[in-house]
Amino acid sequence: MRSILYLIIGIFFGIVLFKSEAASWFRIYEMFQFKSFHMYGIIGSALVIGVIAIQIIKRFKVKSVYGEIITIPPKAKSFSRYMFGGVLFGLGWALAGACPGPIFVLAGAGYLPILVVLLASIFGTFIYGILKDKLPH
């Protein structure tokens, strides 16, 4: 039963990513050229709603539909891992024009070459796992 719910959430998210054009390489390029408000509007409006919702959840100690306390694990304090990791991610995001969500969206939309990006991103994750202890965190 819960599996159906996860599937529906995924389908909804996939449709939104495709129809918002956030999965379009062109929109990402345009965003980094600062030539359109579109992507900033998407992220910005999601954040306004997201910040308000999470504040409400925290203030009123909202429970999940299953009665559990909603917890959002805080990210560990660090600078280097977020900055270095972030810059590397950004380089890839701009080059491939897709981040992990859109990679799956585009696979479903039928763009075969995105599978190359997907396999490379899984491989990149694997190499990170191998090198993890040698990297500054």
Binding site: G14, I15, F26, I49, S64, I72, K75, F89
Partner: protein, 185 residues
């Protein structure tokens, strides 16, 4: 009704993405796409190569189901909910991209140069896709999240680490487009 078949404006799309995050929270889950790449590594046997992949992947099964949904959603969005998939980007950007050899700018969803099947016999652009994907996977795990985990979820929770990561995303992206692209295209 026709509006559904047109590209969705940012003020519809953004709140709907927030809704996905909120619904996941309300069913006790945290929004994040890139962690699935780690789960996929473990499923491929990476736990034998590094401790990082030794974790209870079954606890992440729900997120893999979300991924299956996202793939189906991509199919539905492209094939059933779109009259045209051309992305109407800024005309200045179209001119700029045409000069760089991206002839499909303004007429397609993705650039033909990188995402048509001809890329499979184009060593340079195929290498760029591999490099881009590699950096996305490596960088997302190094930073502990991607656009969904940091830019949407983490920033919504007013987390400083996520702000640092998102600033990093933009430094990397701006550097790629403004400094590296002129050498590539």
């Amino acid at each position: 009704m026709n509006a559904i078949f047109q590209p969705w404006p940012w003020y519809v799309s953004g709140p709907l993405i927030a809704l996905v995050m909120i619904v996941l929270l309300l069913i006790g889950k945290n929004f994040g796409m890139s962690s699935n790449l780690r789960t996929m590594c473990t499923l491929c046997g990476a736990d034998k190569a590094a401790d990082f992949f030794k974790f209870d992947w079954k606890a992440q099964r729900w997120n893999l189901i979300v991924v299956v949904g996202v793939i189906i959603g991509g199919f539905i969005g492209a094939n059933l909910l779109s009259e045209t998939t051309a992305v109407a980007i800024n005309p200045d950007v179209i001119t700029d991209l045409n000069q760089k050899g991206f002839t499909s700018a303004g007429e397609a969803y993705l650039p033909e140069l990188l995402y048509s099947t001809t890329v499979f016999s184009d060593i340079k652009n195929l290498s760029l896709l591999i490099l881009g994907g590699f950096l996305v996977g490596f960088g997302a795990r190094y930073a502990g999240g991607c656009t969904s985990g940091h830019a949407i979820s983490g920033l919504s929770n007013l987390q400083l680490p996520s702000l640092i990561a998102v600033i990093g995303f933009f430094i990397g992206g701006i550097f790629m487009i403004h400094v590296i692209f002129p050498f590539l295209f």
